[in-house]
Symmetry: C2
Subunit: 203 residues, 2 copies
Amino acid sequence: MSDQKSPVDFYFDFSSPYGYFASLHIEKLAAQYGRTVNWRAILLGPVFKTMNIAPIANVPLKGDYARHDMERSARFHNILFRHPDVMPIATQHAARAVLWVQQNDAARAVNLIHAIYSAYFTENIDISKLETVIRIAGDNGIDAGKLSTALNDDTVKEALKTEVAASIERGVFGSPFVIVDGESFWGFDRFDQLEAFLKSGKI
Amino acid sequence: MSDQKSPVDFYFDFSSPYGYFASLHIEKLAAQYGRTVNWRAILLGPVFKTMNIAPIANVPLKGDYARHDMERSARFHNILFRHPDVMPIATQHAARAVLWVQQNDAARAVNLIHAIYSAYFTENIDISKLETVIRIAGDNGIDAGKLSTALNDDTVKEALKTEVAASIERGVFGSPFVIVDGESFWGFDRFDQLEAFLKSGKI
């Protein structure tokens, strides 16, 4: 047995602004306490179906507040943010692309995650489109042709389905959602408690 | 015109643990920035109906996490907390009692709020019962006979209905919910942003 600490499982949906905010902090936070990050792109659609709830933007009253809260939270945390014109969007192409790249090059996959999030939440680029995901991947040194073939193959589709089902099985129901040493934290606004846990090993 | 700053509107439901947590911090926070607190007991039932959502404890996946999060958040913030056996509960008697006491003695009403919250969230006392609310009020120096008469009268029932309708009109959809100078903050986990706003007048 080594002293190696287990990695932090970081679940996120590319349609989630708080997932985006958290994606900018999780690596530094984990590294500060000797951890690496397992980036786990998921889809919240199936989870919301299980929970019988609607995406926050579509809930009366809450939707208006949510938009204001996103913009204010971004300012509060000094995060570059532009509310996309369309939200939520379908994110299966983006999630599958990440999953495929992760099989070959974990570091490049992390760059791709940041690039996709940044495109959607700072440049208002519609990342729901397959060709957009492939273009962003290409810009980040990923073989666009190979990725395109992979995204049209059932293997990666099944792999994402399996990953999403496994996340629901673990109790993941939102984005961002962090699991470390069996402890679950939902939301960027639980990063203070996550940090306390990483620091002392209990909370 | 005086330099008097407008009070902080603090909306809460007695069934809300995060409302309880926030109730222990809001006075000190407001006072620190020269504000007083308008305590506004509401009922989330009608709001949830408008939003077409279920109380958090009843949502699949989220419910289990919610209980864990309440207990962990209480520890994190050094707040005495015991998860009540029954949650959520009906809180109209408690809210009406507060509304009635506020008409006569605002300071005593604040004491009553703390006493009811404490009974429910630290002593597992079922505050949904009319006689329990009256007993707690009596223990806090409120005339139990007069309160009992008032709670059986339609006046206070109508007053609470009006208050709840007005809160929905203002966009209140959760507990705790703070409005100050037109800026809204939902959740105890937005108290960091609330503080930043109180401090600098913008956010």
